[in-house]
């Protein structure tokens, strides 16, 4: 893809405000049975201090996209085969392994879904929150490190951090553990936090607390957050802009307001209509027919073809072009390329 095209994607943050700029990223998984194009030409940006959503279902490639950004593949057969990821003006793809370690944890932190699995049960919470500091800032004397650990624990609203510093993960509740994982990420004051489904394992009231906490911390520290989730509600509540992924590609992007008020891609429209909404008295839920495609047998055209209510012959043959939504976002859909396409340009 030519560079000027990806540059235009969801461009609200101007160049100097850009923190993360992913351009035409491709990560494929090489299996005996074939090549899974887990990430297949993904481009998006995150501005400084911005909150950007990456929405998709399981297998859509959202986690693989994040792992590719920090170049930390969980699958040994997965390889980044194309594209660039620019972070704060530096091309991360050109960094050596040692240089990458300076980014991970220090400038880009990741919060994973399962807090219990992210924490070592045999180390105290204080040791774990302080570990990124110990690793990245060896010259920092112990007392100031402990002071910083106490500060972040306080920031994530852990009561009496000086007492709880020496406790082990099992002595904390699920919600507190997830906050501790957030504290680990925050301790080095990174510019970008990648939060991969951080609230899926939490109860609704605890989730609400966590979302509010992250929003407050963002306001206090000015960090950017890339929210990876399948929950449209979370995106609507917490993100500035959002990218919708389907079968390894971003099929629609835009500001939260535009995307939720005027979804353009048939997949996005279907998703929104299929979710039960509190207070909406729907008789019957809209259902997207079929199921997500087999990534080993992706068609040459649009991957949503089989399930799409608006499909045309051209959709099966070639991948749809990118159509601007008129407010910095875009949609990849043949049905929106015609002049009669609904809602385009009005957003």
């Amino acid at each position: 893809m030519p560079e000027n095209v990806s540059r235009a994607i969801g461009s609200p943050p101007p160049q100097e405000q850009l923190l993360l700029d992913v351009r035409d990223l491709k990560t494929h998984i090489f299996l005996r049975s074939g090549v899974v194009k887990a990430v297949d030409g993904v481009s998006f940006t995150v501005g400084k201090g911005e909150s950007v959503g990456l929405v998709g279902e399981s297998g859509s490639g959202k986690t693989m996209t994040c792992l590719s950004v920090i170049r930390l593949m969980s699958v040994p057969t997965a390889r980044i085969v194309g594209g660039e990821t620019w972070f704060d003006g530096q091309n991360l793809m050109k960094k050596t392994a040692a240089e990458m370690r300076e980014y991970r944890g220090r400038r880009i932190a990741m919060i994973m879904q399962d807090a219990l699995a992210s924490l070592n049960p045999t180390l105290t919470v204080g040791d774990q929150v302080g570990e990124p500091l110990r690793y990245h800032d060896r010259s920092m004397p112990k007392p100031s490190r402990i002071k910083r650990v106490l500060d972040v624990m306080r920031a994530v609203r852990i009561a009496k951090p000086d007492e709880r510093l020496n406790e082990f993960p099992h002595q904390f509740s699920g919600g507190m553990r997830q906050r501790i994982v957030a504290a680990m990420g925050l301790s080095t004051q990174p510019g970008l936090i990648i939060a991969d489904e951080p609230t899926t394992a939490l109860d609704v009231t605890i989730q609400a607390q966590f979302l509010k906490l992250m929003r407050d911390l963002q306001r206090e520290n000015g960090m950017a957050v890339l929210w990876v989730t399948h929950d449209l509600g979370i995106v609507a509540q917490i993100c500035d802009r959002v990218n919708v992924m389907y079968a390894g590609r971003i099929v629609e992007s835009g500001t939260v307001r535009r995307l939720f008020k005027q979804p353009l891609h048939p997949y996005t429209m279907g998703l929104m209509a299929s979710v039960p909404v509190l207070g909406a008295k729907r008789k019957r839920l809209h259902q997207i027919k079929g199921h997500p495609p087999d990534l080993l047998k992706l068609p040459p055209g649009c991957a949503f073809y089989d399930r799409c209510p608006e499909r045309m012959d051209v959709c099966r043959q070639s991948y749809p072009p990118q159509v601007s939504d008129g407010s910095g976002g875009h949609v990849n859909c043949w049905a929106r390329t015609t002049p009669s396409a609904p809602a385009l340009g009005q957003a």
Partner: protein, 345 residues
Amino acid sequence: MTDIPLLEVRNLIKHFPSSGGLVGSGRSPVRAVDGISFAVEEGKTHAIVGESGCGKSTTVNMILLLERPTAGQILFRGRDVSGFDGEGLRAFRRSVQAVFQDPYSSLSPRMRVRDIIGEPLQIHERLRGRALDRRVGELLAQVGLNEDKGQRYPHQFSGGQRQRIAIARALALKPQLIVLDEPVSALDVSIRAQVLNLLSDLQEELGLAYLLISHDLAIVEHMSHTVAVMYAGQIVETARQDLLFANPLHPYTRTLMAAVPNPDPDIPMGEVPGGEPASPASPPPGCRFHPRCKTAEPSSSQIEPHLVEAAPFHFVRYCSMRCTPVERMKVSATHPDGEIRRISS
């Protein structure tokens, strides 16, 4: 229809002895379910909603006879299930089936789909050979799966298809009640609507009753006829679905509603109190929600509130006038917890 509900639970209690060992002995028990009463009407859906630790799974286990109640009664068609043995027990197990949350662990990976669905038919109806194949084929068609898929193994299906297989298995014995324990929370968003619609269709076609366990208020509102909200082993509010969602009375119900992130950027989330759900191992005295409740009063920690009929078909366990203002109630009459009048009209 008779006046006896299909399933009725009266003052059900389950206390687990706190974990043993030298240190553990002598501690007070975990009060997982602490005196709950509700009814499931024939052909209707009763939902239990609550967060982890509220006792909803323990309730399910007791109803499925996987766990013995410490006290209280479970009545099926007016008969106490604890007295069932032999033929009565077999009949109960046929009549009450379950669909669990995770179709990846609820289906045996070593069995073909037709054997998974056929097993209850072999055991209870002694079906064999062609008759069995025909029935399994019907069930697969009923849940929207191709009949020739029966030869396959669970791993060859997607999550949504697996949940359909689990539903087909539950339908095999033509039950009257299906317990749905978080039936879609493990599924992808685009698949959830398919499964929820399928469940609604089956209810209509077959006159099934559902006991729906969920933490998702939007799904509960969409699927249920009556609702009970549980907190720390107790029902804090129970009502007909429309009444509960139109006029939530208990502060915890209102908190749950406020905590749902609405997929509309113009409807911000409400205020959610800090703190964690109360532990059933050491529930707070008085109103169990009072440590998190901003309308709590000094008396909230002293007097254990009872369920009160605040309006017809609407019960709430309120502890002060601030937490549930009288003007929000239509009538006020105290009932002992065990005798909640049935909440469906």
